[in-house]
Symmetry: D3
Amino acid sequence: MPLTDLSLDELVQYRPDLPGPQDFDAFWDRTLTEARAAGGVVEVDRVTDHLLRTVDVDDVRFPGWNGEPVAAWLMRPRGVEGPLPVVVSFIGYSGGRGLPTDHLLWPSAGYAQLVVDSRGQGHDTPDRDPGGPQWVKGFMTRGIDSPENYYYRRLMTDCVRAVDAVAELPGLDGERVIAAGGSQGGGLALAVAGLTRVAAVMPDVPFLCHYRRAAEMCGEGPYQELAEYLRWHSRHLVEPAFATLSYFDGVHFAQRATAPALFSVGLMDPICPPSTVYAAFNRYAGDDRTMTVWPFADHGGGYGSNPVAQLEWLHDRGLGVS
Amino acid sequence: MPLTDLSLDELVQYRPDLPGPQDFDAFWDRTLTEARAAGGVVEVDRVTDHLLRTVDVDDVRFPGWNGEPVAAWLMRPRGVEGPLPVVVSFIGYSGGRGLPTDHLLWPSAGYAQLVVDSRGQGHDTPDRDPGGPQWVKGFMTRGIDSPENYYYRRLMTDCVRAVDAVAELPGLDGERVIAAGGSQGGGLALAVAGLTRVAAVMPDVPFLCHYRRAAEMCGEGPYQELAEYLRWHSRHLVEPAFATLSYFDGVHFAQRATAPALFSVGLMDPICPPSTVYAAFNRYAGDDRTMTVWPFADHGGGYGSNPVAQLEWLHDRGLGVS
Amino acid sequence: MPLTDLSLDELVQYRPDLPGPQDFDAFWDRTLTEARAAGGVVEVDRVTDHLLRTVDVDDVRFPGWNGEPVAAWLMRPRGVEGPLPVVVSFIGYSGGRGLPTDHLLWPSAGYAQLVVDSRGQGHDTPDRDPGGPQWVKGFMTRGIDSPENYYYRRLMTDCVRAVDAVAELPGLDGERVIAAGGSQGGGLALAVAGLTRVAAVMPDVPFLCHYRRAAEMCGEGPYQELAEYLRWHSRHLVEPAFATLSYFDGVHFAQRATAPALFSVGLMDPICPPSTVYAAFNRYAGDDRTMTVWPFADHGGGYGSNPVAQLEWLHDRGLGVS
Amino acid sequence: MPLTDLSLDELVQYRPDLPGPQDFDAFWDRTLTEARAAGGVVEVDRVTDHLLRTVDVDDVRFPGWNGEPVAAWLMRPRGVEGPLPVVVSFIGYSGGRGLPTDHLLWPSAGYAQLVVDSRGQGHDTPDRDPGGPQWVKGFMTRGIDSPENYYYRRLMTDCVRAVDAVAELPGLDGERVIAAGGSQGGGLALAVAGLTRVAAVMPDVPFLCHYRRAAEMCGEGPYQELAEYLRWHSRHLVEPAFATLSYFDGVHFAQRATAPALFSVGLMDPICPPSTVYAAFNRYAGDDRTMTVWPFADHGGGYGSNPVAQLEWLHDRGLGVS
Amino acid sequence: MPLTDLSLDELVQYRPDLPGPQDFDAFWDRTLTEARAAGGVVEVDRVTDHLLRTVDVDDVRFPGWNGEPVAAWLMRPRGVEGPLPVVVSFIGYSGGRGLPTDHLLWPSAGYAQLVVDSRGQGHDTPDRDPGGPQWVKGFMTRGIDSPENYYYRRLMTDCVRAVDAVAELPGLDGERVIAAGGSQGGGLALAVAGLTRVAAVMPDVPFLCHYRRAAEMCGEGPYQELAEYLRWHSRHLVEPAFATLSYFDGVHFAQRATAPALFSVGLMDPICPPSTVYAAFNRYAGDDRTMTVWPFADHGGGYGSNPVAQLEWLHDRGLGVS
Amino acid sequence: MPLTDLSLDELVQYRPDLPGPQDFDAFWDRTLTEARAAGGVVEVDRVTDHLLRTVDVDDVRFPGWNGEPVAAWLMRPRGVEGPLPVVVSFIGYSGGRGLPTDHLLWPSAGYAQLVVDSRGQGHDTPDRDPGGPQWVKGFMTRGIDSPENYYYRRLMTDCVRAVDAVAELPGLDGERVIAAGGSQGGGLALAVAGLTRVAAVMPDVPFLCHYRRAAEMCGEGPYQELAEYLRWHSRHLVEPAFATLSYFDGVHFAQRATAPALFSVGLMDPICPPSTVYAAFNRYAGDDRTMTVWPFADHGGGYGSNPVAQLEWLHDRGLGVS
């Protein structure tokens, strides 16, 4: 597999001029204010039928967009008193929170982790339609006719509300909330960092950045859903679609985010092209930002080496477990 | 491209044992009864801003599932008094009714044509969600958790209700209603023929037949959405998914359909494997059934030759234009 | 599918320096003069066995290169007195004039249409060889050893002679002849516009432009026949081959064409790369030239939306049907 | 690459029932009689500008179909008196006789070799059209409308006439003429063995056998030209096309050939499927027939190991160089 | 992705007749006796620089083939007294033991895990050559000229010796040793179960079974190395290669293994075809054998669902953590 | 297939700044001195069981790296007294010296040829491991941890020692030694020209040049082994790997080579990208250097035309056969 994008020298300089919508902040203020106003409670049920011995698992429901209940797993090292630093993590495209056994890294390292379901993409959190939350594809164009209707408005709001929910969960340290995730999860983490206060953000090979370039470059992965949609609706709808997407672009969230940030990128990533990752990274507002470059990696990025880099990076910033 | 399935000799003998759900008829009776009870009116607006000269175009809304308004184009030869035979046609996957200029064959041949939008797949007919009807993919698994919730329950009901709407449209001959379509449109036409009375049905390279075999065989096309979904949810959900799909299988509609039928199939079709088409055809209940075999065709089937075959076939049965 | 070529900003500036052969005009003058001198008659037979009701179809033979009879369909709205504007249309690679039912748009919109067969590529017009006109591939290199022998010399001459034939056909308006076609048909339309007088030209995703770049860029489609040929004959024949092709390059026809022109291009077209389309468009001699850009389209260009754009464009120029 | 066809156990038993045309022999008798009656002379010119030292090269023209001059190279070991056994060899699809340096095996082993050009496919032997003999593709459907017009009628006649020409060439042993070739060359060798007397035939991974199965099975290679043609002309022309091809099928030539035969086959060959090779081999009329099976080979068959096997096989039959 | 092999009905009946070498047992007795006689010590070093909190990690070297030191990680739940059940796990093709953070499932579930490096494939265990243990590919043919020299003789011996080493490691329960792994790791686990005593074996989508069929079927993955090798060495070496491989075939190990066994298989696995997995499973000698079928899975098998199934299966057999 | 790299205009200017290691010369002096000091004898055995008549074949063993015996074929025109010019030729990746019948060009043209086996890649020359010399892949990363251990240190030393061995072989002209080969063989020829005295060098489509760019660009071929290795070991090992490779880079050998040189390149080569070939060519130290450009060629370069160009080039320089 060859490099999929610009050279590294070009990437570190890549700063395309992408003006966001003028009412970007107003749009999100209104959206989040309404969501928080919708109320709802955080519910926590201890899961007892799993076979793990070193971690405790809670099945959580917290109020997301429109106050709708969003599923999450709360994982933490068994028998450890808090308050613990907590990684609020988001999931890649076309998947939900999965099983507790999929999420052992952070609790094994002494952190709590809140694994947030993606509405509509899994089993436990429906998106709007009371019947049938399971979907394979299609989220990229869901409601793309307006920012209000766009699917990611609801999902990103859920993610911000997940951070809000941390305060309701016992034994967590609200000063050490770390937003994280890979691919779609990375794009969501970045949105969260731009929309609310977190102690750190770690977007790996993030999706949901610089949509137009991505839609023009990708030969595989979910950005292609945009290209396919625009192929068939290109007479009138190209600019309106990108106008909608501009409210959800990681580039604009990055410009508003100040928490210490650890990005990662694979220079042979065909799913989330490196230039789209750097478009966000190079505009990131916080001073403490680091890019872990995996020069021969595909969309898997650093694979098993990446968590080690993240653990060390958090430890260096006093956000880890003492 | 090679043959994608069994040999022709095997196909004409292919009659897999696929028992349908016991309450298949009850399910559909209830579904259609409820839809018809939901009421709604047929609205017809003459389109005047197109540039066609030999056809008239009406923009129609008829009541579909739950009485929800479904868009359609009514195309007919200009200046011809009726009552005209009418082709009620359905659309392939990931597309709506498109533009009037896409639908010139039938009115040019003297027929009326009602081009039915596919809810959620186009611009003009939303599916459940008031915001954002445009979708690229994902319909195959939408609501697959139960027959009640499954997307095709709503879409197939719309299609039956399109035939109902013919009686409300002026100048059409209710005794000469022909259900037709290719790919998804062919699967929908077959469903209509199994669920209501039509004078003829012409499913071309039909989709939505023998889902399990299709999901096991296809390397491209929308049946893969099933396989992908089941890959990620295979622990508990394989049999429930196929249980849902059995209510929407062309094989079972074929067993209940008696109108004269003209199927077509491409023996090199990788999207709708020939055996899945024959699985329906070989169970078709009507005596007057014909398969047009395009032995070297892909999913395009007979391409431009197919309409000629259809015109002649309808003409031979007295369903054409005198 | 990603962009296949330069960015749109680069494309609109793309003006490669491609000097044509010095005797280009002399070559074509001689070629056309000889063809016209070869004589031959236009024959028109009404087709009566089709099943269309709103259009009339004539089976035409007109004298093409060397006076050889070339097949065409003349389509027109039934019962409409002329003189009608007429679209002379050419066909894509590896196909002939097809069936009348393939060509309903223009007569439905009130135009006459002359659908010109491509010699050797279909059933009805042999190329040189009295036996066996059907061919799948290979035309790109047929006679490439000299401009005199090259296949497209004969086919382009046929196309010019099709315009000549309009004057012989009853009910057509010789002042409103529009050359049109997609892909190979677009390249032929452009050649016609450079070689004879037409009222307008509409080349969609045109083929046969800037052969060298195309042969160097394309990973699919018929330009590859050039690359494959030159791979095996590269010791001595690369420059002679391009010397031959320079007499048939849309870039040079464009420089000689002045009729109002409506091009289209798909920026993700892997068959006819956008830069080769713009290489012709940016050199087009007429002032009234428009490019319809389909930014996410493959070689299908605007699909069903394109005819609407063409109808409106013609209407705006007074070339349509009143 | 996986096996592309039946298992070896199945292949050795594979004897499909493929009746040839009743007038097969009459057709070929007439064809060859006419060709021989057309006359023409064999011309031999010593090539002096090559840089080889151990072989002599003659540039030959012999009369082929319709007496037309066909090019060949005559290669022989320098300074060796004859009479020499001679390998008459034919070329793969889309290529001509190439360069003398491409053909060193047989003269290095002490044989003469006559390397026969394929009309139209190279530079030196045009097919029907006086201008422009170079073609990349398209021969499979050239003249497929009738056996009389089909391209391979002319090429196969050339090949038989090449064997006739051996008698006119000095220093060759007319009792030790060996027809040989790979792929298309193998199919031609087999045709020659069925149509005239040779001392041995060695078809490697032969093409031009059991066309229908090949057209139905192949996803790459020239048999696909048939499938593509039939896709677009499938309404009326499938059976006529195969009727034409039945006059040129290696299965029928094999049934008439009695010379000792050494076939080869690659069981992972995607271009010439093993079953089509065995369809000919299993019907081969001569008792002395051997199949060299390369069980993991693609269309390259035995690559460099195959000539060794051929040299040994010829040597064992007393056809080699003492 | 379609099914890659036989239907499930056929798979459960698939019992090809694959006689192993007569001296199979003698070969392995001699091999293991020699390895055990070579001596060597087990070394254990506590890793202190990782950032995990719930598990302890030891860096282990144990004596493998020829007494050579083989690297492993010993993972166990921190602060838990033993004796613990221990999963001895093996790694997939082209990878070594990786990082401790890659192996959190079993210690999190209360088990010890010994993660065995694959000689030559990672960083820490060279194979024969003192310089340069890192390899991407090529192990399938390394030493294939004889059973004595074949790479997997050395690696499988290492794996058996890993089980031997359990007795030397403190806090492990020698009566609850479970051999496990996926792909190559699954093939190694199966070899171990056939060659020494374990309490259970869990081969997931195992590699190294029924080599000939795999080499004939696979279009991707490491079995292709065999096919590629045999393509180029097919004149004399096909049968000798398979003779070598027969000493290392999971089918023959299965016939000698009696521990309770939990296999898994993906019916759409293109890397390790289901029939090769069933060829071993259907010959497995132990009565307590279970196949987890993932009907729509590729080589990933059950992904995150598989560990849950394994934990439950072990728990049911009293091999888990109380 | 499109161009795989820069345009020809860019290529001829392409001179990337690639500083070699400071101790490059010292490294190679030491390596070659040690190899020559290791001693060993040249053995020559006449091969008598082949069936060639115009060439003599000797089976040679000469001392290579560490004095280890390396296999070669010595081919020469039969019955010709020397001293003959001799082509010392090297083999492409994943293959050994093959069969004598694979190497007929040079002896047929009057040259002697020494065909050097590639250790480990064929049958006759093991690399370090006494058991099992056959390998399909993996050499690119073998011993990549240090220049001392890297596989190509040993192979390149063998190649230099092959030139040394010419002096020991009877009938060869030590003043007319020509190093040649394609792909890996071309890279080896270039290394030889940089490390010892030859009369000419002819690297065709050479491999082993500018590794980093190649590893970043190639989507097929053996450079991918580097990319794959670095994907999985990218945390610490990227720079060390390229540090090792810098001792074996054709760019640095070219800077030290002064013999007349005839390179070739295919501009559509996906295996050895043209820029990597030009990176070496543009730094070549000798004044007499020529690049044969095959503008539409893939990795096959000039195919059969290339030897003709080489024969003529050698002849023009007085290195050929009089």
